[in-house]
Symmetry: C2
Subunit: 160 residues, 2 copies
Amino acid sequence: MIRAEAADMPDDGAPKTPDRLRRRASRLLSQVSVRSDRLITEGLAQADARKWHYAALASLEEYGPGSQAELSRRTDIYRSDMVGVLNELAERDLVERMPDPDDRRRNIITISTRGRRHLRRLDKVLDDLHDELLAPLSPAERDQFVQLLTRLLDHHVRVS
Amino acid sequence: MIRAEAADMPDDGAPKTPDRLRRRASRLLSQVSVRSDRLITEGLAQADARKWHYAALASLEEYGPGSQAELSRRTDIYRSDMVGVLNELAERDLVERMPDPDDRRRNIITISTRGRRHLRRLDKVLDDLHDELLAPLSPAERDQFVQLLTRLLDHHVRVS
DNA sequence: CCGTTGCGTTAGTCCGACTAACGATGTACG
DNA sequence: CGTACATCGTTAGTCGGACTAACGCAACGG
């Protein structure tokens, strides 16, 4: 059987697959990402939070206290921005900043009890938001989606 | 069988799933998207092009000539930015801008022969870049990935 | 005819990612 | 020891992309 070419298109070397714009993974990725970001940002705003807050708090709870620079590495927030994020968190008494006695260049950041409580709230909020984000996918598909993204990310982190 | 909890974690209400930061679809999405964007942007730069150029040209070839506003809608480039993009394309003679006789508010944008040639080049460049972007995935997985993204996008476009 | 809408264009805002440089401190090594 | 270099937290500032506001003009609908 002969491979079908779009019949209504003059064969001037035009693409074999129509809709290339819509199918380009890079474009899909960026468009979905923008929407995802808006959803999350707006959702978190209603809880007086920002995504960086969640990242910092979650990192503190999961991997324990750390210096600002270390937190920065864990969360991929630039250390110059981390200052502001931690200011916001400290203002709300969600974290504690104290000088490291063993290295006076460092601050040790610790999550507070309020911080843990807040984090728990944010986790719920995010669960709901992700439910909305991934609404059209079945549980299995969601897993697959996360898996594919993870593999892509790992690959590109290694390569960089 | 009893549901396993992470054994090394005191049960202070901590999340049942560790690594939540890394597994959050929204975070994965944004991180992969950033990397994808960098890859594409840098790759296209080597061909003296930007992603908007590709979007505009591809839209012109696939759906035919159109006004700037229409192009804007097709490609999701803001009409205020479209001006600049079309300037860049017109400078390079990839596109022709002419007044619409039927509606003097409009410009009709047409892709030129050079434009088609350029587009073909960009398509090749992008094919290679996507190969790099999706390197860790098998062909079937790439399709699935695109499919999942498409469904997500469609859903959120409808809802908005 | 007039109010509304859509057009192309300019200018400018906003925000997030990222860089540069700082003083203070720590580390390695001759 | 001393001295070169690296790392820390912080401030300031750049850059680019997404988005808004407003404009003069033209078309449309009642």
